[in-house]
Amino acid sequence: MINYSTPEFLIERDRNRCIDCKVCVRQCANEAHSFDEEEQKVVSHDEKCVACHRCVVMCPTHALTIKRFPLEFRQNSLWTGRTIKDIYMQAETGGILSTGMGNDKPYPIYWDHMLLNASQVTNPSIDPLREPMELKTFIGRKPDRLEFKDGKLATKLSTQLELDLPVIFSAMSYGSISLNAHKSLAKASQVEGTFWNTGEGGLHRDLYEYGPNTIVQVASGRFGVNPEYLNAGAAIEIKIGQGAKPGIGGHLPGEKVDWEVSKTRMIPEGTDAISPAPHHDIYSIEDLHQLIFSLKEATNYKKPVGVKIAAVHNVAAIASGIARAGADFITLDGFRGGTGSAPLRTRDSVGIPIELALAAVDTRLRNEGIRGSVSIISASSIRNSSDVVKAIALGADAVYIGTAALISLGCHVCQKCNTGKCNWGIATQNPNLTKRLNPEIGAQRAANLLLAWKREIKEMLGGMGINALESLRGNRLMLRGIGLSDRDLKILGINAAGE
């Protein structure tokens, strides 16, 4: 049967610059380059290229460029090349289309439709180089009020996560990403005073030392979950759903389950790790309540327990239920959230934007007067520090970053995480590839990203005349909408620019 698929990318090799050193050949796990012994030349194979740019970056003479393959279909707004190719692929395989990373469709990006304020005249902006600028953030259940007896604090607070900036590395399991990626994020969290999240694959023995900066996840597969694990972290997150694939479970193919992954996940080596779509002990909110308190019991009420859900249509009501079920924090994962692997149609068509979900949940919890009892962590599509600032102003206590964190480690967003051939050593367990991510470098880069964002957030806060992040949290007056409908503005709870 003839294969209808055509290359997505074109590899251009400048023969004047290529020295046939074969670095590209050795670096491409997709075998898009090879050495022709007969010609004594390096040659390229466009059809194998995924545009991860590993070869481009590694080429010592900058002889390589990757371009979009110029083959055009007849112009058609409905039947685009991508749509047609998807059908070819399914006609060939009969399979569910699978992909990695987050939704890449051109839906509105609300972050880019919100603008921040700055002080002018009536209120001085504050220079972060001269004045303290505080980003400290606490995640955890907070009482409505403090009580003092004889001038002394009489209220005992439950354990809080203390963050030096409102950014946490989001859940990405060992299995979906490499141990070196985990190490990088763990170490960066420690250096910059924040947290990372294990994802649902357990915590590798080597990383227990980072426990004080670790949020351990409990997901439907319960991989790697045991009392020691639960107590190793600083907090526990129950994962109900993921923004990239709401309503869908997870599937780590057996080839990624090597000995180390198998030990960590507590499953036999080489077996598929299947996370069911629902937790089979949570079919209702009261079941969730029980799991939250089972985990609190297991950890002696010393660890905050949060619940992560995908942002779906009824997210505000669900979040309210979770708050009332005793969660210390709620993670909202929007429809642009990333994934190691998801069915394409689910990823691209299910769920709602995080900006709207976050605003709706914050508003709802405030209307119910319970916003203080639970922290909100906003996950998905945070690309830069101004997105962080906007999320905080909308009402988030902190944000999770996943894709941005991986990009700091070298990810080029080629969306092939699901293939296990990540040339950057991130979304793979292939030992030839995982060693490409030196966790010392990775930790430095990820920490640098956090540091840079800290600096930028401080600049923006200072510009708004604010010197402590809590004065921005939920302060939607600092936002104005641009190019949004009245309905959007209402949901976001912000005025339009010029108002």
């Binding site: 610059r17 010592p60 030196n438 010392e440 470098i441």
Partner: protein, 148 residues
């Protein structure tokens, strides 16, 4: 003395160290393309990448304290600098007898037979007065240049 140490767990096996070693010992120290395309006799890489996937690492002269290559050298070309500790081969005196190859327990000396036969080995880029090119250009810090 400062030496190059490999961190095999991070070696990619990309062999950029070899490329940059060649350049650093060519006539075009700042132009990779010319070093490869213009220079008639391209220097041999003085760093050896050993590879048996997934393990790989770069290995170069260890500049041994008792440097067996220097005691073995029949011409006196192979010398250890008493001050810097760097072992270098004075190529004009080398006759290519390969006794150093017989003696080097690391197999870190190569035969360069392109012109006059000479032993080719790591000189820690002493001439460049910088950190060795292999270390500097390793994309994954799989080599460090340090005192231990």
């Amino acid at each position: 003395m400062k030496k190059v140490y490999a961190k095999e767990e991070y070696c990619l096996g990309c062999r950029l160290c070899e490329v940059h070693c060649i350049v650093a010992h060519s006539d075009y120290k700042n132009d990779i393309v010319k070093a490869f395309k213009k220079q008639e006799q391209r220097p041999l890489p003085r760093v050896i990448v050993e590879e048996n996937r997934p393990v790989s690492f770069a290995l170069q002269c260890r500049h041994c304290e008792d440097a067996p290559c220097t005691t073995a050298c029949i011409t006196g070309a192979m010398q250890k600098d008493p001050v810097t500790g760097v072992v270098t081969c004075e190529e004009s005196r080398c006759v290519g007898c390969w006794t150093c190859i017989l003696a080097c327990p690391f197999g870190a000396i190569a035969r360069n037979e392109q012109g006059k036969k000479v032993a080719s080995k790591c000189d820690l880029c002493s001439e460049l007065g910088d950190i060795p090119a292999c270390v500097k250009n390793c994309p994954n810090a799989a080599m460090v240049f340090e005192e231990r």
